[in-house]
C-alpha cells in the first residue's frame, strides 16, 4: 500500500531537505562566538548580510512569507521545522536588529502596509539588504509616545521629516527606521500621527551612538534634518498612526516573548558560585540571600507560566503582560542587588569575564527593565485602570488640538 501524501509527510520531507542544506552550508554554533549586545562591528554586520543573502537565494528565508513578496509561501510549521533543524548552527545574527527587522518590522509591514510597499521592501528584507530599527522615543517623548514632535511636512510627492529620535537600538547599522511622525498639529494628539519608512542612509539623517552606563553602544540618537521621503513610503494611512502603533506593539510583544518557561530547580547557581568563591556558604545571612534570590527566580518563572496559560486560555486582553513586565522592572534590580551583596569585593575589583565582572555588569543592566519598553509606572497605570478597573486619570488633553495641548502645558 502506498502512503498518501499527508501534510506531515510533506513536512518531514521538508525537514530532511532543510537538514541537508543546513549541514552543508551553515557553521555549527560552537565554532564562533557571537558579539555581545551592542558590540557588533560593521564587518560583522556585512558578513551577516552575506549569510542572509545565501539563505535567501537558497530559498530558506521568509519561509512562511507569501511568494509574491519574495518568500517561500509555506506555513509557519515549515518555518518552525527549519528553525528546529537549524538549532545549533549559526544563522544570520544582526544583534538587536535581527529581532526588530524580522520579529517586528516584517510582520507589521505584512499586516498593515500597502501592496506596493510590501513588494518594494519585503524581498529586500529577506535578502539581507534592508535592516530595520525603530524610531519611536524622542528626547521629549518617552512614556508619552503619542506626544512626539518629529514633524513630517508634505512637499510635492515627498514628505520632509525633521526631528530627533532617541533610544533607537541598532540604528547605526540599520537601513530603515519605523519612524513615527506628527503630520497634523491641529487635531488631538493621537489623531495626527503617521508612520514613515525612514531611510537612515539618506541625506539629512545622522546617527550618533549613545554610550550606556555599562559601556556598551546599543542605543542611538538619530537626528533628522530635512530628510526627504517619498509619499508612498508611508506605513499604514496618513494620520492613522495610532492604530498602526497598536499593530506594531502586538508584534513587538510577541517577538519579545521568550521560549517556554520552566521552574528553576537548581539553587541560584550564580549566587552559590559567588558565595563559594568568598568562602561564605556557611554564613547564615549569605544563605538567606541565596535563598531569597532563588525564591525570586522560581516565583517569577511560576508567574510567567501561570499568566501565559491564562492569556492563552482566555485569548486575553493582553493587559496581563503588564504583570510580567512590572515583575521584571521590580525584581531585576532586587535580584542584581542580592548578587552584589553576596559578591562583596568580587564585584568591585575583578578579572575580566570573572563571576564578579558578570555580577557588576548585571547590577548595571538590572535596572533597564524598570524604564525600558513601558516604565514601571506605565505598567502600574495599566494594571490599575485596565485590570483592576480603577477610575482613569483625568485627561487634560482630551479633545484638544495637540498644538493647544503644548501651549496649555506651559501654563501649569
Amino acid at each position: 500500500m502506498t502512503a498518501m501524501a499527508t501534510p506531515q509527510a510533506d513536512l518531514d520531507r521538508y525537514r530532511a531537505r532543510a537538514r541537508e542544506w543546513i549541514t552543508a552550508h551553515l557553521e555549527p554554533a560552537a565554532a564562533k562566538v557571537t558579539p555581545g549586545r551592542g558590540a557588533e562591528t560593521a564587518e560583522h554586520i556585512s558578513a551577516q548580510r552575506e549569510l542572509q543573502r545565501s539563505l535567501y537565494e537558497a530559498g530558506w528565508a521568509g519561509i512562511d512569507v507569501p511568494a509574491e513578496y519574495g518568500g517561500q509561501g509555506l506555513t509557519p510549521e515549515h518555518a518552525a521545522a527549519f528553525a528546529d533543524e537549524a538549532r545549533g548552527y549559526l544563522l544570520p545574527d544582526f544583534g538587536i536588529l535581527s529581532l526588530v527587522t524580522f520579529g517586528i518590522a516584517l510582520p507589521t509591514i505584512l499586516a498593515a502596509c500597502s501592496e506596493s510597499f510590501k513588494l518594494r521592501h519585503v524581498p529586500r528584507i529577506l535578502a539581507g539588504q534592508e535592516l530595520w530599527c525603530q524610531l519611536l522615543s524622542e528626547p521629549g517623548a518617552g512614556s508619552d509616545l503619542a506626544g512626539i514632535h518629529t514633524k513630517a511636512t508634505p512637499h510635492g510627492d515627498t514628505w520632509i521629516v525633521n526631528g530627533t529620535k532617541v533610544w533607537s537600538s541598532g540604528a547605526s547599522f540599520a537601513d530603515f527606521g519605523l519612524c513615527i511622525t506628527r503630520t497634523d498639529w491641529d487635531v488631538p494628539k493621537h489623531d495626527g500621527l503617521t508612520w514613515i519608512a525612514l531611510p537612515l542612509k539618506a541625506d539629512g539623517s545622522t546617527v550618533r551612538p549613545i554610550r550606556e552606563i555599562n559601556g556598551g553602544w546599543e542605543f542611538c540618537e538619530v537626528f533628522l534634518d530635512d530628510v526627504v521621503v517619498d509619499v508612498d513610503e508611508v506605513m499604514g494611512g496618513v494620520n492613522e498612526g495610532w492604530a498602526f502603533t497598536h499593530t506594531m506593539l502586538v508584534f513587538e510583544r510577541g517577538a519579545l516573548r521568550g521560549g517556554r518557561t520552566e521552574l528553576p530547580t537548581v539553587l541560584a547557581p550564580d549566587l552559590v558560585e559567588l558565595a563559594a568563591q568568598r568562602n561564605r556558604l556557611g554564613d547564615s545571612h549569605v544563605r538567606q540571600l541565596i535563598a531569597t534570590g532563588h525564591v525570586y527566580d522560581v516565583v517569577r518563572a511560576a508567574l510567567v507560566i501561570r499568566l501565559e496559560a491564562v492569556m492563552r486560555a482566555a485569548a486575553g486582553s493582553g493587559n496581563l503582560a503588564s504583570y510580567l513586565k512590572l515583575a521584571k522592572g521590580i525584581y531585576d534590580p532586587l535580584r542584581a542587588r542580592i548578587a552584589m551583596e553576596v559578591a562583596g569585593g568580587l564585584a568591585v575589583a575583578f578579572e575580566p569575564d570573572s563571576a564578579g565582572a558578570v555580577t557588576s555588569t548585571n547590577f548595571l543592566n538590572g535596572r533597564v527593565q524598570s524604564i525600558a519598553g513601558g516604565s514601571n509606572e506605565m505598567q502600574r497605570n495599566g494594571i490599575a485602570e485596565k485590570i483592576l478597573g480603577l477610575p482613569r486619570e483625568t485627561n487634560v488633553e482630551k479633545g484638544k488640538p495637540f498644538r493647544q495641548v503644548l501651549a496649555d502645558a506651559r501654563k501649569w
Partner: protein, 393 residues
C-alpha cells in the same frame, strides 16, 4: 475588577478552568461556609467558649474536608486525581472567610496515618477522622521553635512500648483534640507517635491566640505510656515523613493565606472605588493606584507560587516519594507568601486608613490569620534555610 481579564478570577491553586467535579466542590464549600460560619458568626464564636459551631467539623467532613489525603481503600477519596489539589482548593476557600478549626493540622495527620499509620490507626482512627468525629492535630512545634525535631519530647523504651515526657508548643485546637501526632526522640531516634489526648499524663495549657478565630495551646506530657501500635512509621521513614508533612502543611497554609489575601485585596479595590476624598474616588489618585497595582502583582506572584507548589507536592504524593525538588518549591511558596502577605495586608491597611484599625472591620481577621500562617510550619527564614540545604549547600 478583572472585567476584561476573567482569567484572573481562577483560584490560586488551579490557574485554569475548574473541572465540573471541582466546581461542584467549590460551590458546595462556599455554600456551607456561608450558611454555617460566615464572618459575623465567626466573630461570635471567636468571642465564645468554643471556636466553631458544634457540628462544624462533622458537617465539613461530609463535604470531604478530611478525606482528600486519605487513600480510597481506607475510606478516603477526592474529586480530582490529586487529593492535595482538592485540599488546597478547600484551604483557599476557607482562607477567604477565615474559617475556624484544625483544617491544616488534621489533614496532615490524615495524610500521615494513610501512609504510615499502624493497623489500629487505619482500622479505628482514620475512618473517624475522615468522618469528622475524631479530632487529630499535628503537634509539631518544640518549645522556642515552631518546628519539630528539636527533642521537645523524649521517649524511653519500656517493656511494652515507651514513656514520653516533654512539651509541644503552638498546638492548634488542643482542647478539641482527641489525639496528637507528635515527634519524639525515642532512644536517640526521631519517631512519630499518635498520642491519645485523654491519656494519663497529657495536660493541655490553653493560650491566647493572635488569630482570634483559632484556639491555641501548649501540650505538656509527663511520662505518658505509648504502645507499639501508637507509632507512625519507623525510625527509618520518620525524617522523610516529617519532611513531606511539612510540604503538605506548607502548601495548605499558603493556599489558605492566598485565599484570604485575595479576598482582602478585592475588598480594598472596591473601597478605593467607593471612598470619596478631595472630590473624587481615592482610587483615581495615582499614588493609590500604584500601591494597588504593586499589591496586585504580589498577589498574582503568590498565586503562581501556590499553584507551582501544589503541583509539585501533589506529584510527590502521587508517587509516594519525598523529592527535594518538590520540597524546595513548597518552601519557596511558604517563604514568598509569608513575606508577600505582610506587604499585601499592610498595603490594604494603608488604603483603608482608620477604618482598618477598628475591631469592627474585617481586615484584622485576615491580617491575624496570615500572620499566624506565616509562623506556623516554618517561618520564611526557616524555609529559606531549608531551600539552601535542599539545594545541596
Amino acid at each position: 475588577m478583572y472585567e476584561n481579564d476573567p482569567g484572573l478570577r481562577a483560584p490560586a491553586v488551579i490557574g485554569g478552568e475548574l473541572s465540573a467535579e471541582l466546581a461542584l466542590l467549590r460551590d458546595s464549600t462556599v455554600d456551607f461556609i456561608d450558611e454555617v460560619c460566615p464572618l459575623p458568626r465567626l466573630r461570635e464564636y471567636a468571642a465564645g467558649p468554643t471556636p466553631m459551631p458544634p457540628d462544624y467539623l462533622r458537617r465539613a467532613a461530609e463535604l470531604g474536608w478530611f478525606s482528600m489525603l486519605v487513600p480510597d481503600e481506607y475510606g478516603g477519596g477526592c474529586v480530582s486525581d490529586d487529593g492535595l489539589v482538592d485540599a488546597a482548593l478547600l484551604a483557599e476557600l476557607r482562607g477567604a472567610q477565615v474559617q475556624p478549626g484544625p483544617f491544616v493540622p488534621m489533614n496532615v495527620v490524615a495524610h500521615a496515618l494513610g501512609r504510615r499509620g499502624s493497623d489500629r490507626h487505619i482500622a479505628e482512627v482514620l475512618p473517624a477522622i475522615v468522618a469528622g468525629q475524631h479530632v487529630a492535630v499535628w503537634a509539631l512545634s518544640d518549645p522556642e521553635s515552631t518546628l519539630a525535631g528539636r527533642g521537645g519530647v523524649i521517649g524511653n523504651a519500656v517493656d511494652d512500648g515507651c514513656r514520653l515526657t516533654g512539651t509541644k508548643a503552638v498546638v492548634q485546637d488542643p482542647q478539641a483534640a482527641d489525639s496528637f501526632l507528635l515527634d519524639a526522640v525515642v532512644d536517640g531516634q526521631l519517631r512519630q507517635v499518635l498520642l491519645d489526648a485523654h491519656a494519663n499524663g497529657v495536660v493541655v495549657r490553653p493560650l491566647e491566640s493572635l488569630d482570634i478565630s483559632l484556639r491555641m495551646g501548649r501540650l505538656e506530657i509527663d511520662g505518658v505510656h505509648v504502645a507499639e501500635d501508637d507509632f507512625v512509621g519507623t525510625a527509618a521513614t520518620t525524617p522523610a515523613d516529617l519532611s513531606t508533612q511539612i510540604d503538605v502543611a506548607a502548601v495548605l497554609c499558603v493556599a489558605e493565606t492566598v485565599g484570604g489575601m485575595n479576598r482582602l485585596f478585592e475588598m480594598t479595590v472596591q473601597y478605593a472605588k467607593d471612598r470619596i476624598a478631595f472630590g473624587r474616588p481615592i482610587g483615581s489618585f495615582q499614588a493609590v493606584k500604584h500601591q494597588l497595582a504593586d499589591l496586585s502583582l504580589l498577589l498574582e506572584m503568590s498565586k503562581a507560587s501556590v499553584e507551582a507548589a501544589v503541583n509539585a507536592v501533589a506529584a510527590d504524593l502521587r508517587e509516594a516519594r519525598t523529592s527535594g525538588t518538590a520540597s524546595m518549591i513548597a518552601s519557596t511558596a511558604k517563604a514568598f507568601v509569608g513575606d508577600a502577605a505582610n506587604q499585601i495586608s499592610q498595603g490594604c491597611f494603608q488604603v483603608f486608613g482608620g477604618i482598618g484599625f477598628t475591631w469592627e472591620h474585617d481586615l484584622h481577621l485576615y491580617l491575624r490569620r496570615a500572620s499566624v500562617n506565616e509562623a506556623l510550619y516554618g517561618t520564611p527564614t526557616w524555609h529559606r534555610e531549608r531551600i539552601v540545604r535542599l539545594g545541596g549547600q
